[in-house]
Symmetry: none
Subunit: 215 residues, 4 copies
């Protein structure tokens, strides 16, 4: 491991700050969390975007939210082909081992992954169409969403595609047998929401309205 | 989307708390982040575990850390087979599009994914060996690490395997051409660390010592 | 007071959320409650259990319910021996000073205190029989209820003992002269109910049926 | 149980409202709480006063806070005399069985119990001095606090006595061997705070300042 370097100094300094304040004030809780294991109530699937702080938005304390973050908060369809599936593994662990009660897909405004998908589907991003592009192939999950947006022709197609990223993930979640069964048994519920980064807004999907509405 | 429900009330109430405090105090910054896009300095690859709060440990402000979280903070080897690769897509986006300067793999104590891998490799978790187990197949990434631990025979094999999860990910990161190139050019550095949940400790990999040492 | 620490950060953040939403929307009411004093219509005696949220179940607004919570929602018999009696003091204050119209004893399913009493009475919890065990001595209040359950031999003895915890408390309430007098004058009524945590059920005692029935 | 009546209709109607909304949206969580038992992070000792909604102020979800409420949020000194001690039983259960990480004593403004204690100590409430007064004997716990206030001669003696109610409880908590031991081991921390009902304020005890300061 000749290429591994020590942590940058600024991260070490901040860690010591956290250790001396938040950790020190909550040491008993951290020890208990270590001893008893985690019992999170919800899993949140969010984007890796540095501007989306899931734990803060949902006022979450250590131990409350099992958080998976990937590009554009996507869930691929069920496909047990024996290969590596990081997102599917996270969902399986949350639902079958941790038995979370809620699965929340959190999208957001200004999403670079969604914009890349839009550019690619419009033919403006040939580099993403290359078979070797991991981002391009990952965003293929959202192609059906792109088609729906194209047909609907909304005023703000990027915003519409961000919503589709949430809805597509929710649809794909229901293709997993263990998700479908838990929902049918009433021990798991699915939720979709979208965060407006600039305005600090939060909307969630309302199935009666068939659209996203402010919470 | 008949199965999608409104957000649980307690999350909505907490969101309003965040909106009225953290967001309100930093609205100018959030608006600028929305307008200018993100420019995170580092990417962190961490576990989904609800007890690991990456942003808090590293004192990160909105916009600072591009965070990918999956089960056991693993990175699979480079394999551009045209399939969905969420982790590889996140790394590609961080390194080639966002041009982060640091790639930090953050492991942690009491990791359920690592323990599952250990049980599976010891033959005590047949359900994880099933070809349909997403968690089992995902943890296959760590099998080479298990073999190294088995040969070394350390006093605490789970702790050793948690360290191997970090080192295996770092090794696999170097199999990605765009990571290797960025490291060679000196525009990207790799870092490995491990968080002790109960004691609030943080160790990082020291290449001279060939082991993890407290920061 | 060298051992007292500041409030944990997560509670402070949530408090600010409450301040900015619920309090802000109802400031006039809170100010009036502070100025005029409380005039609650009912007192509820419930368990400390974190899963029983009295105010939510009864849709109570600030100022409506005077709430005493102790282990297993028990009321000891009348015994003015000059010692500290927290439960008796709460009942006395509610009935003679606040003149509440209703006294509601609320039991619940999965009650750890009731289970402890059952184990103790069956001889399976010697640590609760120690004279220094506060929980054991407190649960002695329910020993007569245990005997009735033992004689009746119901299919679900724990559920039956949870009901007895409510009935024993109601019986003991009637040993207080000021309770008995207020009931006789028709200015106070007693009520017993039981909450099924998992199913969200609520049953109340029906004196005609001599048992608990769903509301 | 001839004196027990059905629940008042208005409470039944509100219960159905809760069942149809909050419960329905969170049924999976309630079922899991019933199945797995409670794991509350903190115990709160608060007043029965109908104007203090502990769960709301601390944004608590079902399962988060073990709540004991008595008149004036008092804890008596350690005294294992084999008698009924509701408050001591609740503290013992929280610390030794549930292993909560935080013990929060929450006082409040306009406290009728504290005012009664003040009147009694000043000789203006002879009815509370009767040996048969449960409220009077319960408020005896606060007599040492009254003496300290009297000596200090603050501008607002009632407010000062409300603070003393919190501090006296914290001092008495430290007379319990199992509390003292858990604090010494670093697995339990004590906190004192005070809620201004009319203004929605919250102050906590700052040991450096030796007084209560806004959070």
């Amino acid at each position: 491991m000749q290429d591994v370097r020590p942590l940058p100094h600024y991260l070490i300094q901040r860690y010591h700050g956290w250790r001396a304040t938040t950790y020190a004030e909550n040491a008993a809780w951290y020890r208990r969390l270590a001893g008893e294991g985690q019992h999170p109530r919800a899993m949140v699937i969010a984007c890796c975007d540095s501007r989306v702080d899931v734990a803060q938005i949902f006022g979450a304390d250590s131990g409350e939210l099992f958080i998976h973050r990937n590009v554009a908060n996507l869930v691929p369809p069920y496909d047990p082909d024996g290969d590596y599936h990081g997102t599917s593994a996270a969902v399986e662990y949350a639902v079958t081992a941790l038995k979370v009660a809620h699965l929340v897909v959190l999208g957001h405004s200004n999403c670079g992954g969604v914009k890349g998908c839009h550019d690619m589907c419009e033919g403006h991003a040939p580099e993403l169409e290359a078979s070797t592009s991991f981002v391009g192939r990952w965003m293929d999950i959202l192609r059906p969403g792109y088609k729906r947006v194209k047909e609907a022709g909304p005023a703000d197609p990027l915003r519409a595609l961000e919503n589709e990223a949430v809805l597509t993930s929710l649809e794909n979640l229901m293709t997993f047998p263990f998700v479908r069964d838990a929902v049918a048994e009433g021990v798991l519920s699915l939720h979709g929401c979208w965060n407006d980064i600039g305005h600090g807004g939060l909307e969630h999907y309302d199935r009666k309205e068939g659209t996203f509405v402010p919470v």
